[in-house]
Amino acid sequence: MVKYILRRLLMIIPVLLGVTFIVFSLTYIAPGDPARMILPQDATEADIAQMRHFMGLDEPFIKQYFHFLFGFKSPSDDSSFSYKGLLALDLGRSYVSNRPVFRTILERFPNTALLSLFALLLSVLLSIPAGIISATHQYSVPDMIVSILSLLGLSMPAFWLGMILIWIFSVQLKIFPSLANPNNLKSLVLPVITLATMNTAVQARMTRSSMLEIIRQDYIRTARAKGLEEKKVIRRHALNNALIPVVTVIGLQVGQLLVGAVLTETVFSYPGIGTIMVDAIQRKDTPQILASVVFVAIVFALVNLVVDIVYAFIDPRIRAQYEGIAKIKINNSLGKSK
């Protein structure tokens, strides 16, 4: 098992390198010149060229990518253009606010994590019971209601849903504030619903289809045939196995929650990393864009690692597979030594 975890950890490295390369390339080819953004409007071409030199923007693409990974020492007296690189978790300072970019992210990430966690909890609490009811009462009224709501949840864009919720519950009914704030739980209700809706829909459909598949298996029929109560059949025999693919989907959706937070945070003016990214993109604040995307990629990769590990724990087949491989390898090595 330890080997499995180590192997998964090692696999993260090329994934992250690939992500950083793609993100860096996209930022590099995106139109707009950060040097022009920093300098006053009446800056001369010579000023702009000098600023580009200070920022290392006049270097070839590959060299700039290596600076990004391993650091850059600016020829300027102003040390704010120098940084130690991604490997030292230092991508320098924001071109706009002059703050260290990772510090800004770390300050705001807890807010995004809180919003995502609440959304995840809500989606799990709603989707799994809904999926089970839907599957165990196939083609009934509850099943139809769950299916229709899931379809609606899947088809509504988060920003649109957020705006509609604000219009109804803030502007018209004045029940919830339209501006979200991590220190005010009431203000989180609407953004959490907005963020959770699509995930709830996906998970409910996933639970339903997974349950439907499981409850048609022979061993479930056997459990029923031996006279076991239906509730126990579902809870003890069907649910455990049906939830395995659902856990995978939930893990993948954590990444989706981080992406969804960009829109939800903007609509509800919530101070998380989503709003940092939007601001940075609008202002071509390259260090902030790179740091934010890389940070989200790292979180996403780590969450997937955790999901894979949990998956191995809850699915005996995967555990057995790895233990089997290990046994075969041990046997082989014993055979060779003989």
């Binding site: 502007v171 339209s178 501006l179 903007t266 003016s269 709003t275 601001d279 202002r283």
Partner: protein
């Protein structure tokens, strides 16, 4: 004894709770965080809104556009043909940390604004030199410009890094709006001791959180990055005449325009700015107050790339012809005219989706920004138009277009740039449709770009990338405030503009004269020279629109659109 002790604690708690509840808090919604709490280093409106309250200036602009003393005792004594200024400051003014504000702080602030590499407001001090401390409350400086004949070959204006250095190579010249410019945020007075300490210990990089110490009516309290910034009332403010009853101002960052409007309608914020005209209608019907800038806030225009072989002015080999002399019979100049006569700006002004009638048709080009309005239209293109439909004249447009070579009549030959997702795109669509309808050819292709790319395109003016641009330029009816600024910084106007030598002569004359009728005449003559050609088509003069709740009074918008909150009252 026990009861007494707890009774006292409860009473104290009750008093604190009552005091907290009684705090009068004003919440201002704005689209972005301020950038930095360092006045000359950034000039966007949210940064202005905050810094204008934290820091004081020697002079302020009153709601009717007049310059009034702030930290200064009186208006300056101006001598030697408008080139020598002497200003006395008030005694006993203190920064928020209790330190006395002195002439050394004033000189230090000017020095930083003028020479710090990151200062975005160098233009305020661009003609200032020989800045001296006369006594503990008096400062003196001169205005002029770099005299090449006095300087060795290796020295130019940009290489001079202090007012003393400038004194060696500058020659006196009047700068009429120097006084107006001292009211600007970039001329705010900062604490020399505080900033020098921040520079030494490296905290200068923390964008002001530990050193935003001014002498203004509100003190910096806290900043939650990306969320809000809070100021608290400076109870020891030197000017006892200010009328505000607000204890705390929270500038809340709300990026999404619809979220900003919803927060206002839900009464979560008291003031919002940059309201879209269509939203203004909804806000008014929901009982909100609409605040407008005094006069017209800016122009939306259609600009032509003068380096373009299609709508600009090029030599026979296709290179840009930038000699400053217009060739008004060239095909490029005639295509510009055909487009001008095809556009009816009333459609933009009246469209509920664009201006919703909160703007007006304007006849003068955006070049009117540095030159003021022309009251006498004789000999200019203004004679041809009216304030209902601009220069719209379909017959003329078709006649000119018919005379053009076929190469300029092909569909899609003109690439038009506009800011992605903005009102300019809607305006560009109106222009495209009108040109297509009048000229019978769909000449224009619109390309939407992000803000950074727009800035790059404007400054590079690459004719392979764009021919037309729909954009915005700030100005105001009380033009004398802006006239010298842009008149002086003519480098700002190099992108799509094109001056004749005649115009440039008048600009230089206007720049050298102090504020007054003679100066205005010089600029108006420059504008008349420019109006003979068509570097830009004015589409609409706009007003800056903000909104406040009904219980708020005493707020006015500065000509640049930022809030002036010194006298804000919240009932």
């Amino acid at each position: 004894m026990f009861l007494k002790k707890w009774g006292a604690v409860v009473t104290l708690l009750m008093i604190s709770v009552t005091a907290l509840a009684a705090q009068n808090i004003l919440v201002v919604g704005q689209a972005t965080d301020p950038i930095i709490l360092d006045p000359p280093m950034y000039s966007d409106t949210p940064t202005h809104n905050v810094n204008l309250l934290v820091y004081d200036r020697l002079y302020n602009l009153s709601s009717d556009g007049k310059v009034v003393p702030g930290l200064a005792v009186d208006l300056p004594k101006i001598e030697e043909n408008g080139t020598k200024y002497t200003i006395k400051i008030k005694n006993g003014v203190r920064f928020h940390n209790g330190q006395a504000l002195t002439i050394d702080d004033v000189i230090y602030s000017f020095q930083r604004g003028a020479f710090n590499d990151k200062s975005q407001m160098k233009s305020i001090f661009a003609m200032m030199y020989d800045v001296k401390k006369v006594d503990t409350v008096t400062i003196q400086f001169r205005t002029g410009f770099f005299d090449k004949s006095k300087a060795p070959a290796d020295i130019n204006d940009g290489s001079l890094k202090s007012f003393e250095d400038r004194a060696k190579y500058y020659k006196p010249a009047a700068f009429g709006s120097q006084l107006n410019q001292l009211t600007w945020l970039g001329a705010s007075i900062v604490s020399k001791a505080t900033l020098e300490k921040a520079q030494q210990d490296g905290s200068i990089k923390d964008y002001g959180v530990t050193w935003a110490i001014g002498s203004g009516p509100f003190k910096f309290d806290s900043w939650k990055q990306g969320d809000s910034i809070t100021l608290v009332r400076n109870k020891d403010y030197h000017d006892s005449m200010i009328k505000t009853n607000v204890d705390k101002i929270v500038f809340k960052t709300i990026r999404d325009p619809s979220a900003l409007k919803s927060a206002f309608l839900n009464k979560e914020v008291d003031l919002i700015m940059n309201v879209a005209p269509l939203d203004a209608r909804e806000i008014e019907s929901a009982g909100g107050k609409i605040l407008l800038t005094n006069g017209y806030f800016g122009y939306h225009y259609l600009g032509f790339n003068m380096k373009s072989p299609r709508v600009g002015q090029t030599n026979a080999d296709g290179s840009p012809d930038l000699d400053g002399e217009y060739d008004l019979n060239s095909p490029g100049a005639r295509l510009r005219l055909a487009i001008l006569y095809s556009i009816n700006p009333a459609d933009i002004v009246n469209s509920p989706d664009i201006m919703d009638r909160r703007g007006k048709v304007t006849l003068q080009y955006v070049e009117s920004l540095p030159f003021g309005h022309i009251d006498d239209p004789k000999g200019t293109r203004i004679e041809e138009g009216n304030t209902k439909t601009g220069y719209y004249n379909t017959a003329k447009a078709r006649e000119i277009f018919a005379s053009l070579p076929d190469s300029l009549k092909k569909p899609g030959i003109l690439k038009c740039t506009a800011l992605s997702g903005s009102v300019y795109v809607k305006e560009a669509l109106v222009v495209k449709d009108q040109v297509k309808r009048v000229l019978g050819v769909d000449l224009i292709n619109i390309e939407q770009v992000a803000l950074t790319e727009l800035a790059t395109r404007r400054s590079k003016t690459d004719p392979d990338v764009w021919d037309l641009i729909v954009n915005w330029t700030q100005t105001d009816d009380s033009y004398y405030i802006f006239v010298a600024f842009d008149g002086f910084n003519t480098s700002l106007l190099h992108d799509t503009k094109f001056y004749s030598k005649d115009a440039q002569t008048w600009i230089e004359k206007g720049n050298s004269l102090p504020n007054g009728p003679e100066r205005n005449v010089a600029y108006q003559n420059a504008q008349k020279a420019i109006l003979k050609a068509l570097p830009r088509v004015p589409l609409v003069a706009i007003m800056g629109i903000s909104a406040s709740q009904q219980n708020i009074s005493g707020v006015f918008l500065s000509p640049s659109g930022s809030f002036q909150l010194d006298d804000v009252v919240k009932k």
